[in-house]
């Protein structure tokens, strides 16, 4: 088995192992697991950067060079490194953050499973496999967001995250299946190889839109952006891991993965670009309305995701480079900031940005980490964030006719990011210290290690851009574009328009930061933003679905037996008659009165008996009329050459009438059929419909040629093989004896059940 498949098994096995050790140890186990997986993936860096693509094929068409299964190209490797690397830090952090909490171990196990599912999703080269891992991440996120399950808000947020991302997953599945049908393979690389066929398929456009819908739901793009801030009900390690660094980027990953397939389609580019821009703008605007630092970060994450989607939409080489670089940068600084906010929350008991300040003296290490990460976020040199922002502006400038809008909006968005970065670093840690619920101090090293390391990584990556470009960015860009490219990252581009834009951004950002205390309440008062949000739509849709389900259930499960029976028979009859009608009816058998023989009188007796049963006023009369039907039927059997059946029917009818008569002494035999005349008519209509359907089907059956082989075989073999002259009896006791054995078992069980049913009466339980 190939290593990349083994990695998933190790991940799943390690997660399971965490369930059986003490929570404190489980955190270490998880961190070790993630770190070793990270090392495993990092070992592939060299090979992948030179163009190798390790694969673990579960199936494949070697002639077409298609292998479905797992595949580790540059894009997958970048994601795998982020997932495992940040994962290791998060495990470490979580063990300390939730130390002593009874839910810690469960959280760790779910985190491990989530990590494994993420790794599976990004290394899958099979659409179905991708979908399965995709939904597994949604499920894991449901449990992780709902960690604090006693809180109704957490439960609601978990459900919302599950419904939105899971619903998107269903759209994705539909899209993937359509693409797979068009491509003739479920292998993703096979789909990309078959791009002309996929795009020429009549359902190509719906398929693409479905895939986009799945990605947008997962990556919180407008109009699905509302679930991400609500998911902040999760514990901070979960938010840092799922909602900034990994899971929400899975949608971005999907778009990047399918970009080689769709990069010739104009709609793909337009949609991604504008939706991404709208998302980024929405996130920036909403981020400036919040003082809860976690929600601020959530909104800026929405902005980051929107920016990524937009960059994939713009798509030429520069933009893809910008996307990969920004992805990396964003993962570093956003995870670090989430962890910092978690530390602040943990140590001070508050995460209200308006109430906190001057924490730097009490928690210097945290302040340094936050400062480094925030500078990267603000895009200041020499951080890698600066490199990313330069690329961002360059990509927008090269976006053709739309570049003016992109630049102007992008400028405002970036400026607000600078302001938020200021709030999260300068305002939070410098200035006069304010009173907090708990006395702040730097946390346990396990908690501070994550943000410090991530922030330093941001600094390190900025200082050696060439190495990052070769090892990580270029292979990923190659995967996004589906062709070889040369990527160079530089910290210093010289004095040009882009640098001027960067400088102006920082300037406006500083202005916004200084006015932050006035901006937030100002934007808060604009309630119109809430009113038209899609969150309202979601609420109404959810409530509507539930009430619709209730009404449907009330309609179908009404609790009236006769209603069920009527529905059953009417539906069956309509289905039978409808099928007959669709198939063009049947040939009615020829009929002449002359052909009738006296046996028809038995049929008349049956009809008379049925009428008497139906019209009987009391149950006793109905039972007697039923007996008449039974005897007429037994006569009919006799007249059609079935003496065994006739005698059996006769005996059964006798016994049944005797037993019914004995029982009717207890039952209210005189009960009148008290259906209202209108109800009787309706019931009769259903009954006649059912009868007509049976007759019609029976006539249709009789019109088909009869195959007598089975009966003839039994007849021919009965005496020679089984020494019996009564063929019916030989079938029962010899040819089909096993069936008969089963049937007499039923009889014995019925006897046993009746005895058990009536036994309790003798002990005086029921009157």
């Amino acid at each position: 088995m190939s290593g990349i498949a083994l990695a998933l098994l190790v991940g799943a096995g390690g997660s399971a192992a965490m369930a059986f050790v003490p929570a404190r140890l489980a955190a270490w186990l998880g961190a070790g697991l993630a770190a070793s997986l990270c090392a495993f993936y990092a070992a592939h860096l060299g090979a992948v950067s030179t163009g190798a693509v390790p694969a673990a094929a579960f199936w494949g068409v070697p002639a077409l060079d298609i292998a479905g299964g797992l595949r580790l190209d540059g894009l997958a490797l970048l994601f795998a490194l982020l997932i495992t690397g940040i994962g290791a830090l998060v495990f470490l952090y979580a063990g300390s953050y939730m130390a002593g909490d009874a839910r810690l171990r469960r959280l760790l196990v779910m985190l491990g499973l989530f990590m494994t599912a993420m790794l599976g999703a990004v290394t899958a080269d099979d659409a179905i496999l991708l979908f399965i891992f995709w939904e597994l991440t949604s499920l894991a996120s449901f449990f992780l967001v709902g960690t604090n399950h006693q809180s109704p808000a957490a439960r609601k947020a978990a459900l919302q995250a599950l419904l939105v991302t899971g619903g998107g997953g269903l759209a994705l599945l539909a899209g993937l299946v359509l693409v797979a049908i068009a491509a003739g393979t479920t292998s993703i690389s096979g789909m990309i190889a078959a791009a002309p066929a996929v795009l020429a398929h009549p359902a190509a456009e719906p398929a693409m839109l479905l895939v986009i819908a799945g990605a947008f739901a997962k990556s919180a793009q407008v109009p699905f952006h509302f679930w991400l801030p609500n998911a902040m009900a999760a514990p901070t390690p979960v938010s840092a891991y799922l909602h900034s660094a990994t899971m929400v980027k899975l949608g971005v990953y999907l778009l990047a993965r399918f970009n080689p397939l769709y990069q010739g389609v104009a709609l793909w580019h337009e949609l991604l670009m504008w939706a991404g821009l709208a998302t980024a703008a929405t996130g920036a605007l909403l981020a400036l309305r919040e003082t809860d630092l976690k929600r601020v970060l959530a909104h800026t994450t929405v902005t980051g995701l929107g920016t990524l989607v937009m960059l994939i939409g713009i798509a030429p080489e520069l933009s893809a480079t910008a996307a990969v670089t920004f992805l990396l940068v964003h993962a570093f600084y956003k995870a670090a900031l989430f962890l910092v906010v978690g530390i602040v929350d943990h140590e001070t008991g508050s995460r209200d940005g308006a109430a906190l300040g001057g924490l730097g003296r009490a928690m210097p290490l945290t302040a340094v980490a936050a400062g480094l990460a925030a500078f990267s976020m603000a895009g200041l040199p020499p951080f890698v964030g600066f490199v990313a922002k330069e690329l961002l502006y360059e990509a927008k400038l090269g976006a053709g006719p739309a570049s003016d809008v992109l630049i102007v909006l992008g400028f405002l968005i970036n400026a607000s990011m600078v302001a938020v970065a200021g709030v999260l670093s300068l305002r939070l840690f410098l200035g006069a210290s304010r009173p907090t619920p708990e006395t702040p101090h730097d946390p346990h090293w396990a908690m501070i290690a994550g943000p410090v390391l991530l922030a330093l990584l941001g600094l390190a990556a900025g200082s050696m851009p060439a190495l990052v470009a070769d090892l990580v960015v270029e292979p990923a860009v190659r995967a996004i574009l589906g062709r070889p490219v040369a990527v160079t990252l530089k910290l210093w581009h010289g004095f040009n328009l882009v640098l001027a834009l960067s400088a102006a951004t920082v300037l406006l950002g500083v202005v916004l930061f200084l006015a932050w205390e006035r901006i937030v309440p100002g934007l808060r008062r604009a309630e119109a933003i809430d009113r038209f949000g899609p969150a309202r739509f979601y609420e109404r849709l959810l409530a509507g679905t539930i009430s619709l389900a209730e009404r449907c259930t009330g309609l179908v499960q009404h609790g009236h037996l006769h209603g069920y029976i009527a529905t059953l028979f009417a539906a069956t009859a309509i289905a039978l008659l409808g099928t007959l009608a669709v198939r063009g009816g049947f040939d009615a058998p020829a009929f002449a009165f002359g052909a009738l023989d006296p046996r028809a009188l038995a049929l008349v007796a049956i009809v008379v008996g049925v009428l008497a049963t139906v019209l009987a006023r009391s149950v006793l009369v109905a039972v007697m009329a039923m007996g008449l039907v039974g005897f007429a039927v037994s006569l009919l059997f006799l007249l059609f050459g079935a003496p065994d059946v006739a005698f059996t029917q006769f005996a059964v009818e006798t016994l049944l009438v005797v037993i019914l008569a004995a029982a009717l002494v207890i039952l209210p035999i005189a009960t009148r059929d008290d259906r209202a005349p209108r109800r009787k008519l309706a019931d009769a209509a259903v009954a006649i419909l059912a009868g007509a359907a049976v007759t019609a089907v029976l006539l249709a059956v009789l019109a088909t040629p009869f195959d007598p082989r089975l009966g003839a075989w039994f007849g021919a073999n009965s005496y020679p093989a089984a020494h019996g002259r009564n063929v019916v009896n030989v079938i029962l006791v010899d040819f089909r004896a096993l069936d008969t054995l089963g049937e007499i078992m039923v009889l014995a069980i019925a006897a046993f059940a009746v005895v058990a049913l009536l036994r309790r009466a003798r002990t005086g339980d029921a009157r």
Binding site: D644, A651, H723, G724, D734, L738, T740, L741, I744, A748
Partner: protein, 149 residues
């Protein structure tokens, strides 16, 4: 309501007559109309009649076994009648074996008859169990109601 004298007197005769008839129907079933199902029903009707005339206790003493046990015995008999098939040439379960005994006349004996006897017992047991169960339950209820008032 007590059954009439005529009923009580004629009940044993009817019972034995119907039991005899039921065995005849059972045995001839392999070659003429009849068999275990029909024989069982005939026997059951005789026993039901007896239960009406002499009460459920009369049938219970007559049968020795509980009717459910009778039913289960029938299933057991039918199931085991298929086992000797494993001694036969093709060895499939429930393929009946035959032995034609020459005792002046040829007497065809086969495991098929045992199987049919099992069917017979299962049917008898089922019908009798339900009927006397009902009768006894009625009696118990009547007693409880009288006691309660």
């Amino acid at each position: 309501m007590r059954p009439s004298l005529i009923l009580r007197t004629s009940a044993p005769m009817l019972l034995w007559l119907s039991l005899l008839a039921s065995l005849y129907v059972l045995v001839r079933g392999h070659n003429e109309p009849g068999g275990g199902f029909l024989g069982g029903l005939v026997a059951a009707s005789g026993l039901l009649f007896h239960a009406i005339a002499r009460g459920p206790e009369g049938v219970r003493t007559l049968l020795v076994l509980h009717p459910v046990q009778l039913s289960a015995l029938g299933v057991l008999l039918a199931a085991t009648s298929g086992l000797p098939a494993f001694l036969g040439p093709d060895g499939a379960y429930l393929t009946h074996l035959w032995w034609f005994a020459e005792l002046g006349v040829t007497l065809p004996l086969g495991t098929a008859l045992l199987f049919d006897l099992g069917v017979y017992l299962a049917v008898v047991g089922m019908a009798v169990a339900i009927f006397i169960g009902l009768l006894e339950w009625k009696a118990a209820r009547a007693a409880a109601t009288e006691g309660g008032e």
